[in-house]
Subunit: 383 residues, 2 copies
Amino acid sequence: MLFTYILYTKNLLLSIKNHFDFFGFWCKIELIPLTLTLKEVIKISRSSFVTIKDIAEKAGVSVNTVSRALNDKPDINPQTKEKIEKIAQELGYVKNVYATMLKSNVTHTIGVIMSDSSNPFFSEVFKGIDKAARENNYQIIIMNSEGLYENEEKFLKTLLERRVDGILLFPMQKSYEDIQELIKEHFPIVLVGREIDGWNVDEIFSDEEKGGYLATKYLIEKGCKKIKMITDQLYNSASYGRLQGYKKALKEKGLAFSENDIKICEGIHEGYHVKAGYDKTMEMIRKKEEFDGIFCYNDLIAYGAIKALKENNLKISQNVSVVGYDDIAFSRLIEPELTTVKVKKFEMGYEAFQMLYKRIKSKQRDNSSTRKVLDVELVVRNS
Amino acid sequence: MLFTYILYTKNLLLSIKNHFDFFGFWCKIELIPLTLTLKEVIKISRSSFVTIKDIAEKAGVSVNTVSRALNDKPDINPQTKEKIEKIAQELGYVKNVYATMLKSNVTHTIGVIMSDSSNPFFSEVFKGIDKAARENNYQIIIMNSEGLYENEEKFLKTLLERRVDGILLFPMQKSYEDIQELIKEHFPIVLVGREIDGWNVDEIFSDEEKGGYLATKYLIEKGCKKIKMITDQLYNSASYGRLQGYKKALKEKGLAFSENDIKICEGIHEGYHVKAGYDKTMEMIRKKEEFDGIFCYNDLIAYGAIKALKENNLKISQNVSVVGYDDIAFSRLIEPELTTVKVKKFEMGYEAFQMLYKRIKSKQRDNSSTRKVLDVELVVRNS
DNA sequence: CTGTTAGCGCATTCAT
DNA sequence: ATGAATGCGCTAACAG
């Protein structure tokens, strides 16, 4: 074990390092020059970061001269500035942004709460956020709620403690109270990927109904007579919208809607989408339900469905057609290549940050709000 | 447009909100009680966060009583505590961690720099980091370097400015100077996924040579006589190690090694791995190079290779066998299911954080370092 | 052009 | 059990 003691006597500063072991100990005594005060020594022993005060002392100027020099403020002698910059360089000075933040009340940080950043859909959206944030010199604290409301709540608090300038939230449809609280306070927040009716808050999301409509219409026009839909929990606007589109297309084409054709995934865990798609399809086959088309809530579910169909020797696109949603990168790699609804993932993230940024910048904390709807399109491939 | 002015007169504080529009403007005058000072009003207009001072005033106690109450310190009257907690609740108090950090010099934040968090390999590793960090109540600031050294350098600085307690870095093999600087200063840092010889720094990485060896040996034992390797840039330890393993297996089985069998991907951009795997394979076919096996640096490259082989009507596993690396989730979904080297991705992230945490906690900033090697295994599937 | 001073929000002695 | 005072590192207002 290693201990460090610091003693202050009238004219001597001792730093004693004792190395103990089972058989005794020895100690090493270091003399520290008297120019350092006790406080400074403590500081040194605690943290190795150099402060503007250190620079100021070394340069023989005041701290604020250093501050001005390092922040490119006017009213400074070029030579002084140069000298200070040189010393800062030598000492390896790195600004402590916390001190700055404490004064300025601005952190240049946003919080991002999503359910699972390793899900390809989210990670594409995140890329957009990341890009936009970097361009504006903003940092990101990311939190994965794993779809759990408790986490969402906890993270929200953590982010506020960190005084993020704003928050991008991919909400579970359940979380109402705390978010509404924030909105009431006009805290900068943008809801991403979900539409929440009647709230006075900035939102960006896809035209889900159109997506569901396009997918279903495509299946019908391809000749499908009985189209199943495998969807996610129905209490979020995305699945709701896609379902509406599905219904709309059925109605338009004169096909009957049946509750039994809607299969809802349950459980949230690592890779559950693929598994759910697989399980639901297997179940439909086992129960000998008739169907010649499946509209899946997302591509991952579609992968699972395709896997199940293959295992039962059903020909994709001939016996059963499958349409996914999102158009993640892998949908071009699986066999057959997946027909899917393309969502502007990167744009969603990029735009979301822009909206948040605008909100942060405008001191205007009023009751107006903007909502942006992103267009979707059908990508026809071989499924 | 909406402007807010604050006027301070001898006995009157005016907050004037002027609503301009094209046709004129009107203004609303609010009287603010004299108990507030100008400074306080400015504060209110600037930030809506309540401080312990606000609570103290409302509770009629001192700030430190509030501080003690809220931090579960001893020496406090239970009733006072309860009262303070209630007021804090009412006012919607959220602690400003920056102030705390400024005092404590501890941020409970780590920085993570990786090349692309949307790459499935990295996102799995990140999950492990995230899990471990949450368990220890640490926050994460993540940065995507996009494989660019300039970014890595810049981000490192940003993270230091943010006074992260430690850094997890997935290094490009190029970046030496600045990292070494940090290591010399005994700043807590753990290098993840890459082994760097001769550095005195904590590292965690996979047994790359074993992975390359297992993959190649498998191909040979399956009957392959001419095995190509499509790899990434060779200046990182991962590709180097896998190449060594490849060579070792060839030698052991009496097959000749040829420089021409090593195909190196170039370019770094969105989805370049898949494309590179595809391009390199197409090129080999076009040039009529002979081969009956491909060992790919990662699964993404393997997907591209498989796509190219299929397009040329080559039967995977019969005409040409393919082995990938990493075993990302999608390798079970493509057709044929990919034989690959399974890497402990989640564990790598999880352990990496543990190592960093240990380093952060032990004030001991000495010259010792630990390196952890994770085992790999071959997962035989149908390619 | 530069130094002095005050204060951001909080936690920590040290008194009382 | 509670309050007063101090300082973390930095910036900004003000004075010289």
